[in-house]
Every structure is written in structure tokens, then in C-alpha cells.
């Protein structure tokens, strides 16, 4: 059984809000139960694929790109949605 208090701490999520989430552990268990079918797949000796894209580092010059400097005060955050 998954302990939501422990996971919440690891995930840096506020427990206060989690308490309002009703059957949180039940819903997490529902998902975990579904993914149990992974056990039916034979994966012994199979190399994992973590990334399907390019696996080479892309290098660039260690120079300042002026257009990527954030102008102070220009895009300060503001609440627009109430």
C-alpha cells in the first residue's frame, strides 16, 4: 500500500491540500493496479530505451547571447487571472 504522506514529502507537495483530495490513495492504487500488467512482459536482458531522440551532446560557444538576456522589470510577473 502506498503511503501518501511519505510520497507527498518526497514530492514536496503540501499535505494540507492532499487531505482534501478524497480517496487519494484509492486512486493511486487504481493506477498502480493497472500497471501491474507490466509483469506480463518479458524484459530479461532487454536494454532500456530512455530516449528515442539524438543521444549526442550539442555544443555551442561559451558566449553571451544578448537577445536571451532578460531585461530587468520588463516582464515582471503579475496576476491576471482571478
Amino acid at each position: 500500500m502506498i503511503s501518501s504522506a511519505k510520497i507527498a514529502k518526497l514530492a514536496n507537495l503540501p499535505m494540507r491540500d492532499l487531505r482534501d483530495m478524497g480517496d487519494l490513495e484509492g486512486k493511486l492504487a487504481e493506477t498502480l493496479n493497472y500497471v501491474e500488467i507490466l509483469k506480463e512482459i518479458k524484459t530479461e536482458g532487454v536494454v532500456p530505451t530512455y530516449q528515442v531522440g539524438n543521444n549526442e551532446n550539442r555544443m555551442r560557444g561559451d558566449v553571451i547571447e544578448p537577445e536571451r538576456i532578460i531585461p530587468t522589470g520588463k516582464y515582471e510577473a503579475k496576476i491576471v487571472w482571478e
Binding site: 507537495l13 494540507r16 493506477t31 530516449q51 528515442v52 532578460i70
Partner: protein, 429 residues
């Protein structure tokens, strides 16, 4: 009806810029952008309250490319919060209504983008897909959606959900418009190390450049018994259109899609927990209390599957199974040129029917997950109607073969008129 009035009915946009109000000028192209792409100086929320105050200081690469092409960004479209869903019902800004039936969902997570296109609010829209988020809403809204090969389009400036499958792509009301948009956004980006110059397969299995002799595989498992029967039938009828044009239809066997659901769920939740760790209100946005329940559940599940002691059983196991999925596709593409199936196993459901189902999104996207995990390109095109609601057919191609699926989709479109049908609510061109 004006665009703002229409948006009140559909809730397709979270932000509508000044430009949206202007009348279309000759040759102007208006583009709607999903709200998880950073737009310089324009609110970017990813449909989450946690970013309700985030105005990015820079443009995503794809947004920059759209602007450089001289096209106009009219606003930011609604979506599932952080793209966590397949119906936009997890949006913190309300659900997007389907332009064909306002009591139904538009699909997700790029629901706002697909609805905006279907309702004629823009010329095309930028969406993003992690597994079904472009194809799904395109199918349910009766428009065309292209999910390119992973690595074909830059993710720089796209708010990350599941980094190993996230992929930007265009949605429009015709294959030609999708192709033009794709030409603009694709390409290697020094700011995204996963982008690369992929090469199209030179020699087809069956066809030599055209549809004649092309071998199209119909995966038996993708016409599911649990799917809506008439959706399956509609897609089979559409396949016969391609057969009449000279293609050969071949029934093929794939890995059961139910395994892809499990593999995708674990990988996605794991990457979500890692990617959303940066949302802490320190550098931008509000603090973590502002996440909604779906976001918190996904973060928690991913944290669980990455924990020491569980990592091998979940995360590593899923990544090994992913290798098998990729091999399964490689085997299929040694026999056929492309795969054809329904995009979604049903038409758009009523708003609210999915609430409380922890696995709804993953179940809905069952026919997109395997190809997304393998990074393959796919397109969804309108291919008919069931109960007056649009049905989408998807064509999945081998890696880097966008040209092939675009060409075949276009041939299908030229022989049919499904894409020309518009919902009554739509703004006419």
C-alpha cells in the same frame, strides 16, 4: 459571431490577444498557440493556476519560427493543465466545448487548439503531443492533426510534461495547411539537443513514390472489440478508399495496446514528477499548493515509481518494454509502408463522463501511446461521422517519414469531402 463571443461559448482560448479582433487581411495567417508554449510578453499558463501570473521573457523556438514566417499569433489556447489529460477537463480555466456539440468535450490535451481550428477562429493552431494530444482532439473536432517524429521539431520553450515523448505539431482544417505549418516549425534547433536531421526512408516496401502498390498495415489489435463499432466500420470504409487508389491493405499483428498504456503511464508519471519539480514559486509562478488534484496525483505516482526500491519494477521495466514496442514497429515496417487505424476508439464523449476515472486519459489515448513511445510520426484526418460527430483515421509512418503520411493523407483528402464539413457554430472564412 465575433471571435470573442464564440470563445465565450467554446472556451477554446485562455488568452486572446489584440490581434484576434482585427479583420483578416489579404494573405495574413492567424495562428493560435497552445498555452504550454512560451510566448514573449504573453501570458503562458499551461492551463494551470500555478502559472496564472507567468509572462515568459522569451519565445519558444516554434513560436519564434511562426513569427519569423510573418504569421500572426492571436492567442493562447486552453488545454488540460500541464497537458495532464485527454479532454481538457483538468484545465484550471474550464473545459473546452466541442464545436460540433457543446455538451461534449473537444478532446485533449490540445483541445483548445483543435476546437479553435474547427470553429474557424484561426488558420491553424500549434498543439503538442505526448501521446495522443494532437491526434485525439483533431479526430474529435473533425480537423487534421500531425504529430511529427520525436526530434523533428524543437521543444525549446515548450513547458515540459514527458520530455522523452513531448512533440509540437500543427492542427488545421486541411492536410495542405498542416503541411505548410509543419514546414515552418520543423528543423534542428541548437537549443534542443534531441532535435536531429532525420532522413526519409528512400525505398518504400510496396509503393515507389505514390499510392499505387503501397502496403498499408491494419493492426488487428487497433480495431478493438471494446471500441465503438461504427467508428471501426467508418475507418475501414476510409481504408477502402485508399485501396481503390491502388494501395494494398494487409492485416497485421501488433503488441497489445493495453501494454502500451501501462508502459506510457509509468514513464509519463515519472517524467512529470521530475519536470514539475521546478514549479515551486521561486523563479516563477505560484507555490505548489496551486497544483490541481490531477497534477498532484500524477506527481505523486511518478515520485513513487522513481523511488529507490521501486525504480527497477516500474521505471526501468517500462523503459525496457519500450524497447520491445520499438522493435515491434520495426518489424511491422519491414512488411508495410505505413499503419492505418482509428485515431480514437470512440467519438467525443459528453462533458463530465470521465470524472473520477484515474486512468481515463490513458485509456482514451490507447491507439496513440505505442507510436508516441517509439517517437513515430502520425497524422489524423477526418474520415466520416458517427451520430453527427467526426471520426478520425490515423496513419502512422516509420521514423522521419512525415512526407509519406502527409502525401497519403492528401490523396485521401482529395477523394473525400469530410474535411470540408464545418460545425454550424463556425466562423465562415
Amino acid at each position: 459571431m465575433g471571435i470573442e463571443e464564440l470563445n465565450k461559448k467554446l472556451n477554446a482560448f485562455i488568452t486572446l490577444g489584440e490581434m484576434a479582433r482585427l479583420r483578416w487581411g489579404f494573405g495574413e495567417v492567424k495562428v493560435a498557440v497552445k498555452d504550454n508554449f512560451c510566448t514573449k510578453g504573453m501570458l503562458t499558463t499551461a492551463a494551470s493556476k500555478i502559472l496564472s501570473n507567468f509572462i515568459p521573457p522569451y519565445d519558444a523556438t516554434v513560436v519564434e519560427k511562426v513569427k519569423k514566417a510573418g504569421q500572426i499569433i492571436i492567442g493562447k489556447t486552453n488545454m488540460d493543465a500541464f497537458a495532464h489529460g485527454s479532454s481538457t477537463e483538468t484545465s484550471d480555466y474550464g473545459v473546452v466545448k466541442n464545436p460540433w456539440d457543446l455538451t461534449r468535450v473537444a478532446g485533449g490535451s490540445s483541445g483548445g487548439s483543435a476546437a479553435a481550428v474547427a470553429a474557424g477562429m484561426c488558420d491553424w493552431a500549434l498543439g503538442s503531443e505526448t501521446a495522443g494530444s494532437i491526434r485525439g482532439p483533431a479526430a474529435w473536432c473533425g480537423v487534421v492533426g500531425l504529430k511529427p517524429t520525436y526530434g523533428r521539431v524543437s521543444r525549446y520553450g515548450l513547458i515540459a510534461m514527458c520530455s522523452s515523448t513531448d512533440c509540437p505539431g500543427p492542427i488545421a482544417d486541411s492536410v495542405e495547411k498542416v503541411r505548410r505549418a509543419y514546414e515552418i516549425i520543423k528543423g534542428v534547433d541548437p537549443k534542443d539537443a534531441t532535435t536531429q536531421e532525420g532522413k526519409e526512408r528512400q525505398e518504400g516496401i510496396g509503393g515507389r513514390g505514390g499510392i499505387k502498390g503501397l502496403k498499408i498495415g491494419l493492426p488487428k489489435e487497433y480495431f478493438m472489440d471494446s471500441a465503438q463499432k461504427r467508428v471501426n466500420e467508418t475507418v475501414l470504409e476510409a481504408a477502402r478508399v485508399l485501396e481503390k487508389l491502388g494501395a494494398t491493405l494487409i492485416e497485421v499483428k501488433t503488441m497489445e495496446p493495453k501494454y502500451a498504456i501501462a508502459v506510457y503511464t509509468v514513464i509519463q508519471r515519472s517524467e512529470v514528477s521530475s519536470n514539475l519539480a521546478r514549479m515551486d514559486g521561486v523563479r516563477f509562478g505560484l507555490n505548489r499548493e496551486a497544483f490541481n488534484e490531477e497534477n498532484m496525483r500524477r506527481i505523486m505516482l511518478g515520485t513513487h515509481t522513481l523511488q529507490s526500491g521501486y525504480y527497477d519494477a516500474y521505471y526501468k521495466k517500462a523503459q525496457q518494454a519500450r524497447t520491445l514496442i520499438i522493435k515491434d514497429f520495426e518489424k511491422l515496417f519491414s512488411r508495410v509502408d505505413l499503419l492505418l487505424s482509428p485515431t480514437m476508439p470512440s467519438v467525443a464523449p459528453k462533458i463530465g463522463v470521465t470524472s473520477g476515472q484515474a486512468m481515463y486519459g490513458e485509456m482514451a489515448d490507447v491507439l496513440s501511446e505505442a507510436s508516441s513511445l517509439a517517437g513515430l510520426p502520425a497524422i489524423s484526418v477526418p474520415c466520416g461521422f458517427v451520430e453527427n460527430l467526426p471520426v478520425g483515421m490515423q496513419l502512422i509512418g516509420p521514423k522521419w517519414n512525415e512526407e509519406l503520411i502527409l502525401k497519403i493523407a492528401q490523396e485521401f483528402e482529395e477523394k473525400t469531402d469530410w474535411h470540408e464539413r464545418k460545425p454550424n457554430i463556425a466562423i465562415s472564412g
